[in-house]
Point group: C2
Chain length 430, copies 2
Amino acid sequence: MKDTISVGLLGLGTVGSGVIKIIRENQEDIYHKVGCHVEVKKALVQDASKIRTVDIDQELLTTDADEILYNPDIDVVVEVIGGIEKARKYILAAFGQKKHVVTANKDLVALYGEELFQAARENGCDLFIEASVAGGIPIIRALVDGLASDRITKMMGIVNGTTNYILTKMSKHQLQYEEVLSEAQAKGFAEADPSADVNGLDAARKMAILSTLGFSTNVSLDDVSVEGISGLTNDDIEYGKRLGYTIKLLGIAKRDNESVEISVQSTLLPQKHPLSSVNDEYNAVFVNGESVGETMFYGPGAGELPTATAIVSDLIAVLKNMRLGVCGKSHTASYNEKKLKTDEAIELKNYFRLHVKDEPGVFSQITTLFASQGVSMEKIVQKPLREQKAAEVVIVTHKSNKKVLDSVYDALLAADVVDSVQSRMRVEVC
Amino acid sequence: MKDTISVGLLGLGTVGSGVIKIIRENQEDIYHKVGCHVEVKKALVQDASKIRTVDIDQELLTTDADEILYNPDIDVVVEVIGGIEKARKYILAAFGQKKHVVTANKDLVALYGEELFQAARENGCDLFIEASVAGGIPIIRALVDGLASDRITKMMGIVNGTTNYILTKMSKHQLQYEEVLSEAQAKGFAEADPSADVNGLDAARKMAILSTLGFSTNVSLDDVSVEGISGLTNDDIEYGKRLGYTIKLLGIAKRDNESVEISVQSTLLPQKHPLSSVNDEYNAVFVNGESVGETMFYGPGAGELPTATAIVSDLIAVLKNMRLGVCGKSHTASYNEKKLKTDEAIELKNYFRLHVKDEPGVFSQITTLFASQGVSMEKIVQKPLREQKAAEVVIVTHKSNKKVLDSVYDALLAADVVDSVQSRMRVEVC
């Protein structure tokens, strides 16, 4: 094996710069671990004249991807440009040139993971994706190796740092969504266009990847039911607190028998649940295994260096495989047929906040409505938190199936005594 | 490669039975993951006639270890008998016969890890030890693979379930140590002889293993400074609460520059720290990396099935290596020279609870004593929690070095106005 392995970086933004820093800083440790040196040989950039946060030789920069993809000196390609089509084309080209690939691209892996892993296999190449989910938390390895012996039944993840930051601030400082979002944008915790984060899409991509690996079945993004946090108000957070819950944007992936359900939505979670104390921009994935029971993996979900550690750890794994001559042979198989649960098979509790007519008999009509649908109530709060224009009722149901709860929701919307359904959320019991 | 890999079990107690159950239950998944079947061929027991919690063919039982160690049909040995000398002899014999080994034996690994890994290497064999620390939590893999790229600077671990159970119950129900210990023994959460747990030795073994891997240096059990929980009273827990702390038996391993300190002791931890909410028999390891920042790994630290999942995940790793023909080649190296910090270099805060003479001027004499040693105080509590026979003073210091704090302790013991030093504990800031 060569004494120095050469890496080509596709992209030199925040994470790409972090990769260069870590490789440089930990060169000696890496040498001890894998028996060779690692060198970044080329980095693809859009504008070679731009000032960088990382000190890098100008000659290493290129605006032509082919100088990396078709460079015979480059052994491993690290893809950190993001986006979908270009990244996909580059990665497939890299495999065609028998180069191994490490990527942080959740958007791409969630959509084209199956195709990419197949191309890697066919070309005898490694493809590692640790950085695509939950930044610095080694959750992919935990699912693929650490818990390999177990049958994973449920994963609940706070896998989007931006929304967790927003929800934490809303809850701690009694602020409304819009105020916190602007502040988060100003501080760089939310992007100028935060839609993929706040509408749940980013979390959904990560849950698709986790479900594919955890359940050994090919889950695609379309299989994930997604709702974001933008409709959430501080009222719900305060009611949640009174009822003993914390509200989190939660990815939930469950497997019963052979069927799976995967969703992302604002969820009321008991305050005592370990995920409830995961605050600010931190991520965590709670994993239930049939034998192991409850485990949780916590850490920074994004950021230059945390994400770069995941990439460089993947790089070390590639180097070890190269040294042992076993690249392209450790891919996980999606051997289970995918069966999605129907709405009737999805069991959950719901939280409803209603504005109702302020007249006698309203309460009884609402309880009758729930009863007629066969849904029983666990908790009801009527006393307003502060002065309300409309009378307000908050209800937490007992467990029922999603189809029935959808009917309750429709019936509430149609009911004369209900002015509006202010919010409806999932309630997760532990 | 053979279609069925045969395993010999050394020991068929709780964990051994769990291994059989998981292999049996997840046979099909294991086949999909590694491309071969796994079969337990022989199990070493002390008494073949004993009733078992797992259904096993009587013919598989043996009281003669040689039937496993020298059995040419057996490929992998799983050591779950515990203890030191016999287990060590068996494992070395297994390597001599070119058999791979998976062990859950923290006592042995903490003492003889270096020797065992060397024997494995020399014989081209795999040795996996995931189950030796924190049961079902894949923390060894996290350190060796997931965070391989990073420079780990600190690990704090709740790595003993028995003591965490005791401390949780003492805190929740305002009970004293002895009461909870008896209850824990009755419920099976503590052993009849709980000394290795409550005196911190068990946790120290695990911290020695974690430090060896996390810092890539050979830490031995003697390098760990150890104090247990048996002197702890409910008074300290209540004072801790009032001051904003939770008391945990905490393993702390730190690396500054090239020097390390490793200790196990009752520690006051800020209530907001993620480790403070790790309750009952659960374990967690909090890992700080220079680049990744803060991560935490949480789960069951013991128990039949959780520990067995770690063993069977290791077994799957051995099977993958066998399939790829790379056994004995993935050992981690302890390439850093071990440098232990001197007491002068160990920076920490202390908590003291004193019984003092109930007379004027006492308070001023105590503060003078601290000042004369150059230690400043962060918090002082004088108001008794309940009726005390003696006047009581609780002090939390600012950071100082261990040598100076030892002098303060000696001076307190010698001071006329101090009747007794009821307790002294480490205070950990985040």
